[in-house]
């Protein structure tokens, strides 16, 4: 079974040379730490930067330089700044190659819910609805089950949707799963996790086709 860093490490393998990548808040942010250093990738943050670098050294924080999680960051050589309309122009215009974000629920048809628990958590969708409505390559990073132990991979989302039929891949602490027209297709198992354990933690239709290899990390 993977921890959050393990999930990020596995997702980092999906990041290819020449990609512009948007990372959501939470586990997705960690992905940047594991991208191979022999490929060229630029990270976009939707508040207005391409070419986002690591956190600044202490004493070098700049209030005019933050990411979408409002954390202080740095800009790498070749970076650019832009306004919010242009930022979402990049996203809506499908110029961003890969979007990685967290979720509360994903349905077997690719629907995603990650912005609202009615009556409880109402923080807003931020840029998530724009991202999932436009991106062609969306990977969800999340734990396979919620704190109550219930599956987050469902036949149908129970929470208000963020987007419909948009998720292409899911990486959890248990598995790598592709969203297909017939349901969740199991691609890889996390180290030490059996197909049966994944099946038991998945409420939606899980397609198991032949031998399922263990992830290589």
């Amino acid at each position: 079974m993977l921890d959050k860093n393990g999930i990020a490490k596995r997702i980092a393998q999906e990041v290819k040379d020449g990609y512009y990548v948007n990372l959501g808040i939470g586990i997705p942010t960690l992905v940047a730490n594991f991208v191979r250093d022999d490929i060229e990738v630029e990270f976009q943050s939707e508040n207005g930067i391409l070419g986002m670098g690591p956190f600044p050294f202490e004493g070098e924080e700049d209030p005019d330089l933050i990411n979408a999680g409002k954390q202080t960051i740095t800009a790498l050589p070749g970076a650019s700044y832009f306004d919010s309309a242009m930022s979402f122009g990049m996203i809506r215009g499908q110029h961003v190659d890969l979007t990685i974000l967290g979720a509360m629920e994903v349905a077997e048809n690719g629907d995603i819910a990650n912005w609202k628990i009615p009556g409880k958590m109402v923080k807003g969708m931020g840029g998530a609805m724009d991202l999932v409505a436009s991106a062609e390559n969306i990977i969800v990073a999340m734990m396979h089950t919620n704190r109550a132990g219930e599956s987050k991979l469902l036949k149908k989302c129970s929470l208000p949707l963020t987007g419909v039929g948009c998720v292409t891949k899911i990486v959890t602490n248990l598995a790598v799963i592709e969203v297909t027209q017939k349901g969740f297709k199991l691609l890889e198992r996390a180290p030490g996790v059996s197909v049966e354990e994944i099946q038991n933690a998945t409420e939606g239709t899980l397609i198991i086709d032949g031998e399922i290899p263990e992830m290589k990390l």
Partner: protein, 235 residues
């Protein structure tokens, strides 16, 4: 040169009154019009509608207006950092219209550029699209979103000249440029106000035509919401 300079924040906010709709630039606490917000608190205007990506934190930014119950309605994309906001929203004291971030930017920009509405794929199939016109283009569904209407836009820039030309810094740019000219009156506050000719016309982000009033801001706190650093590795 058409001079847009006003002497101070009081002059800059002349004409504001209860019940108005304001746009306020900024993302989190970065690039917010601190001087205009302080003046709105001082004036104690009520029944305001505020269009702003976020709602500040409990004791800074728009949170200061929320504390004094000056805002009746917020239009934002993300409000997670403000406990008082969440309390007022869940209790029904505050009306909240949550809007996808890119749609928020587009609705401001549409107002700036004279489009009555735009089509966006964001929110299609979700509760955000409920009651709104939808339409298919090239096999994909889009939601019709109308341009915002606002009385004042309050923006913050790094540098500006007396003609109202603006240059922003880093990610403090965010929503500020798209709100310029999107309201009846745009008020720009700047960290550094210079004479015409001192800014390179090649580097201007927003031409002065979109700005009605500009003033030299003061006492910027520029608070950091999430201070994240890395340690210098010892060699």
């Amino acid at each position: 040169m058409i001079n847009k300079t006003v002497q101070n924040v009081t002059e800059a906010l002349e004409g504001v009154h209860d019940g108005m709709t304001f746009m306020l630039g900024g993302f989190g606490l970065s690039g917010i019009p601190e001087n205009a917000i302080s003046e709105l608190v001082r004036l104690n205007l009520k029944k305001l509608t505020c269009i702003s990506n976020n709602a500040g934190v409990d004791d800074f930014g728009l949170g200061l207006l929320l504390q004094k119950k000056q805002i009746d309605k917020m239009i934002s994309s993300y409000v997670g950092e403000n406990a008082e906001f969440e309390r007022q929203m869940l209790s029904g004291e505050l009306e909240v219209e949550l809007t996808p971030q890119g749609t928020l930017a587009a609705k401001c920009q549409a107002a700036q550029q004279g489009f009555p509405a735009i089509y966006t794929p964001a929110g299609y199939g979700t509760e955000v699209a409920m009651g709104k016109e939808t339409r298919e283009f090239n096999g994909k569904m889009y939601v019709l979103e109308e341009a915002y209407k606002a009385d004042f836009a309050f923006v913050k820039a790094w540098k500006g000249d007396k003609a109202g030309n603006l240059i922003f810094k880093g990610t403090a740019r965010n929503f500020n440029p798209v709100m310029c000219g999107a309201a009846t009156i745009t008020v720009a506050e700047v960290e550094e106000l210079v004479e015409p000719g001192e800014l390179d016309p090649n580097q201007i982000h927003i031409p002065g035509i979109f700005v009605q009033r500009i003033f030299q801001g003061k006492d910027y706190e520029k608070r950091i919401e999430q201070r994240t650093v890395r340690q210098k590795e010892s060699l």
